[in-house]
Amino acid sequence: MLEIKNLNVSIGDRKILNDFNLTVQDGEVAAIMGPNGTGKSTLSYVIAGRKDYTVETGEVFLDGVNLLELEPDVRAAKGLFLAFQYPLEIPGVATLTFLKAALNAQRKQRGEEELSTPDFMKRVKQASDKLGIKSDMLKRALNVGFSGGEKKRMDILQMALLEPSFGILDETDSGLDIDALRVVAEGVNSLRSPKRGFLVITHYQRLLDYIVPDTVHVMAQGQIVRTGGKELALELEKSGYRDYVTEQAVA
């Protein structure tokens, strides 16, 4: 379960999250929608532990652990996964090497044994077959020269291997054509389980046709301003965000 309580975050003088509150239960898929510049990506980065932001007050609990006191790698080992809006290219690091290093770093952090190479390869093969990732792609440098769709599939592959208890998908639909979107969404849907929660951040309703949320939250000016069921996304698609944006935020 993810609980965000009274979170206030700023960069420099600019306030981005404003007394932000949100709870996502185990097994729940919550969507956050909202116009550009309302702090959606900031929210995901703050939860994952990026250092560019000042957390003024508030708490973020994952299964009862306060994440804000932890380094990003410890947060990951505690079960948090952030699928990036733009997964980074890492030249010179073979994808397989990276996957193994990440998996074993998390296991070590949790006091578990390192995976044997055959065991690791078996898991990678199973997960990558499902996502249509070919083995030669795994030998290439991580995300280098990958298409937008390939990068997103690679992020979902990482999520499948790392088996987090909570996944945040930050604008996962950006840069994807409809076929790639479908593959990525299927990948996410196959990871849905009663024990795993998701926070899906998007500004288009389209993604939510494929990853159907249990709840939809509308975010504006650093706060949740409205909460509803999946039908709220359809309503937003028709009316846009105009009702939720004040003149101040537009300026």
């Binding site: 790698d73 890492i90 990482q158």
Partner: protein, 444 residues
Amino acid sequence: MSAQIIPTRTPAETALAEAFAAAKPALPGGAEVAKLREESFAAFHDAGLPHRRVEAWHYTDLRALMREALPIAPLPAAAAIEALRAEFAGPGALAQRLVLVDGAFAPELSDSMPAGVVVRSLASVLAEGRPDLIALLAGQGLGAKDPIAALNAALMQDGVVIEVAPGAQIAEPINLVYATAASAPSACFTRSLIVVGAGASVRLAETSHGKGARRGQTFGCLVVSVGDGAKFDHTAMVTETVAGSVRLETFIAHVGAEAKFDSFALITGGGLVRRQIFMRFDGADSVASLRGVSLLRGREHADTTLFVEHGAPNCSGRETFKYILDEESTGVFQGKIHVAPHAQKTDGKMLSRALLLSDTAAMNNKPELEIFADDVACGHGATCGGLNVDQLFYLQARGLPFAEAESLLLDAFAGELVDEIENEALVAGFRAEIAKWLSARSKG
């Protein structure tokens, strides 16, 4: 009355003049060689140790950095050779090796060479006085104006002269190994030559044996002549580990027509290192790649200076050098590409990239292009910066602790140039050396 400026001699310069006067009666070579030595020493003596007002040495002020000149190393004692013989008999010793001990060729520690390769000591070649080899050894104009290359020519004691017969295909690398025997701090002046015959193919790998247990001053020079249609591959592992050491290496390369030339060097610290490379494309349609990685910490200083002359049309040159600079270390990259008027269709690309891991590390870049032909594609680039914070965060968000994420990125940065070496064992050796440097860093 003519006003003559007599610069003050530093103690190091005075000691070098005394060393030359004392050593020259015993240095190998006939009258021709003696003349070369006198002229070379005069060139050095007139200029003195290069300093910051000498453009090519602006960032490596040797006059200030080299306070003393160490005595020239004596010939290694028999006992020292015996001790090394035991070490070279051990497991893991390099095969097909040529060993220099304190700069002197040690045939008793070296292996016999495959068919098509003839090796002699520099001393015997100088004594024999073959004019063609002596002309090659003198560099044929390359590096002629450099005072340190001249100092080496004046004092060259020994080294190896390797001749690879035309058409010979030498599959395994020839290992040129530098070992030390003298226990007191000392200097050595070596000069080696490899002549790669037309259509031949050979790889030369330079390494140091063991960890230099004493401070030293090494003035090395390697001259390469690559024949038409030949392939020459070269690596150098420059791992000086004793603080206060000075290592000044000159690499002179003449590349013939339709030849392939590939060189990689790893510098991992220890005092002051300068590698200066003088390369000239003498024939058309050749391809050359020069690469290097310097990993520095403490107050280490490493300088790589290139002069690449395109003296023939349609040649391609790739020069890529990377630096990782920690603590108070200093990196220097200078690269000059000169394209002669008739060297049309030259394709030259030079790149220097530095990662600075501390606020007190410094990098000096000076790329230069001098183009006198009108149909060429030449470019250069230089970057300095820290590790990419977005990449670091991405790796951390996947569970890698900060130090591990940093090491992974540094290893990838340096390793990229190593992976281009077309020899798996050498790639593994350089990769291991980089990993060792990184792990010492994360422990420190």
